[in-house]
């Protein structure tokens, strides 16, 4: 993958993110998460599942199992590297920009909200731009009038290793605000790091691509749900038909 090639040239994101940072952040922290995860899941039922499935299963509705931290951090960091590119920054365009303007008012307001979330995440964690399809948290609940308007872009922040996959959102962009991400380059000046990230590193092409995928997935899910609903209805109506004849008066049925 392109980013892996770039990371092997660890000065690719200079001067905005130093070679030293990449060496430690990617070469030590990220690598450790992957290696430790492998050690934890080898020979278990999680082995062979996709990383996203491992995350959801080990999140265990908030009562995290041991592999969660490593799995989520491995996913988060890969997502983070892919969100950046040399010569990044600027503004998004096309549908992404339209949705941002629709859901935040303007690109600048989105930027404020995102930067504020990143700056106020207390302790370690991440800030995200995510695509939220309107799904209620109750298994058999259904939005009676689903429409494109219900699907929104949101800015969220999460602590430690948690990520929006566990809330059933589709992440589009993230910034790592664990101190190890910025301490070598910015010491304690987190807001400067966030600004440099947004102005010089963010890869809006990747974010747009993710948005497309997220929308396609949401649509596909909706279609599947509709199909399933129709099947259920048909089954139910067949049963009813049988009951009527069984209960009918014998003399009248002739």
């Amino acid at each position: 993958m392109l980013i892996k090639f770039l990371l092997s040239r660890q000065n690719a994101l200079e001067p905005h993110m130093s070679k030293d940072t990449l060496e430690y952040h990617w070469g030590k922290h990220h690598r450790a998460y992957v290696e430790n995860l492998n050690k934890q899941i080898v020979g278990t039922e999680l082995d062979g599942m996709s990383l996203e499935d491992v995350i959801i299963v080990s999140y265990n509705k908030g009562n995290m199992l041991p592999p969660f931290n490593n799995a989520a951090q491995a996913w988060n960091h890969e997502f983070f590297w892919e969100s950046m590119k040399p010569g990044g920054g600027g503004k998004p365009s096309g549908e992404l920009l339209e949705l941002i303007e629709r859901d935040f008012g303007s690109f600048d307001r989105f930027l404020e909200e995102f930067k504020s979330a990143a700056a106020t995440q207390f302790g370690s964690g991440w800030a995200w731009l995510a695509y939220k399809a309107n799904r209620l948290n109750v298994d058999n609940a259904v939005n009676p009038f689903p429409s494109e308007k219900d699907k929104k872009l949101v800015v969220v922040k999460s602590p430690n290793a948690v990520n929006p996959l566990v809330w059933d959102y589709s992440p589009l962009l993230t910034i790592d605000v664990w101190e190890h991400a910025y301490f070598l380059d910015f010491e304690n000046r987190r807001p400067n790091y966030i600004s440099v990230f947004m102005d010089k590193l963010v890869s809006w092409e990747v974010v747009s691509k993710r948005l497309e995928i997220a929308k396609a997935r949401a649509t596909k899910r909706e279609m599947e749900e509709e199909r399933r609903k129709k099947e259920e209805e048909e089954e139910n109506s067949e049963d009813e038909a049988v009951e009527v004849y069984v209960d009918g008066d014998e003399s009248e049925s002739e």
């Binding site: 430690y24 030590k28 922290h29 450790a32 931290n69 207390f122 302790g123 370690s124 964690g125 602590p159 430690n160 290793a161 664990w178 101190e179 190890h180 301490f183 070598l184 010491e187 304690n188």
Partner: protein
């Protein structure tokens, strides 16, 4: 200009005789404007306490630059944040820092001032938990108590280091005197949580937020923790804190505390 309707600040002697130190009630002061409406507002504020040693005194185990950033900017930032909260809210006036931490923790639903208040407390405590020429092992009462509660000093040290290495995310590792159980224990806490909120008494702390060690050790938590135990931890501070704690917690047969 204010009158207080409940009094958590009863004179210390009565408090000690009547009942053990308990979490003070969160009380509201009603402002009474006496006619002339002078704009004299009482403001409580905290200053940034200097560590009991120069910023380069912990070299080579903790660099001067780390102290400059960690104390000079991060710790100072928490103090300023705390003062901003206090300036806005006269309900918080009159508490000592310990009490403010307990009150703003609010049994797990913390008030906005909590993070700043507790981080000020945590950092004051952390600087004082270290000294130049620290490390080695404790003596007298502290050593006895550790051996009683952990089996041996080595066992305690192992537990402490293990807690530091298994803490995920930001937080602290503490040697704490548990009030109810009347024994020492090692606990690790997330983010800014502090054993005071469970009414226990901290004896030593180690800051495991990445900002505490990243400049000097980068991702090598193991070395940082070992260096802390071998060269930085101040058992003198632990002794004086134990001596004070023994006034509140009965650790055994009555004896003159030599800590």
């Amino acid at each position: 200009m204010g009158s207080v309707t409940c009094n958590p600040l009863a004179p210390p002697s009565t408090r000690l005789l009547l009942n053990p130190l308990k979490i003070p009630k969160f009380c509201h002061s009603r402002r009474q404007l006496h006619g002339s409406q002078r704009a004299s507002k009482i403001i409580a504020y905290y200053g940034l306490k200097t560590p009991p040693y120069k910023l380069d005194a912990l070299e080579p185990y903790m660099s001067k630059r780390t102290l400059e950033v960690h104390w000079g900017e991060l710790h100072r930032g928490y103090v300023e944040g705390l003062n901003k909260h206090l300036a806005k809210d006269d309900v918080l006036y009159g508490y000592t820092l310990d009490e403010l931490v307990k009150v703003s923790y609010n049994s797990g639903n913390p008030l906005p001032v909590f993070n700043n208040a507790v981080q000020v407390w945590n950092h004051d405590f952390f600087w004082e938990s270290m000294q130049p020429g620290g490390g080695d092992i404790p003596k007298y009462g502290v050593l006895e108590q550790i051996e009683k509660d952990f089996g041996s000093f080595t066992n305690f040290k192992e537990k402490f280091i293990e807690a530091a290495l298994t803490l995920f995310g930001s937080g602290y590792v503490w040697l704490v005197l548990k009030r109810e159980e009347r024994r020492l224990a090692v606990v690790k806490t997330s983010n800014a949580i502090n054993p005071l909120v469970w009414n226990d008494i901290p004896i030593i702390s180690l800051d495991m937020w990445e900002h505490a060690y990243y400049l000097d050790y980068k991702n090598d938590k193991g070395t940082y923790t070992n260096v802390f135990m071998n060269h930085l931890v101040s058992w003198n501070a632990a002794m004086s804190r134990m001596a004070r704690a023994e006034a509140f917690v009965n650790l055994g047969e009555p004896k003159i505390p030599i800590a």
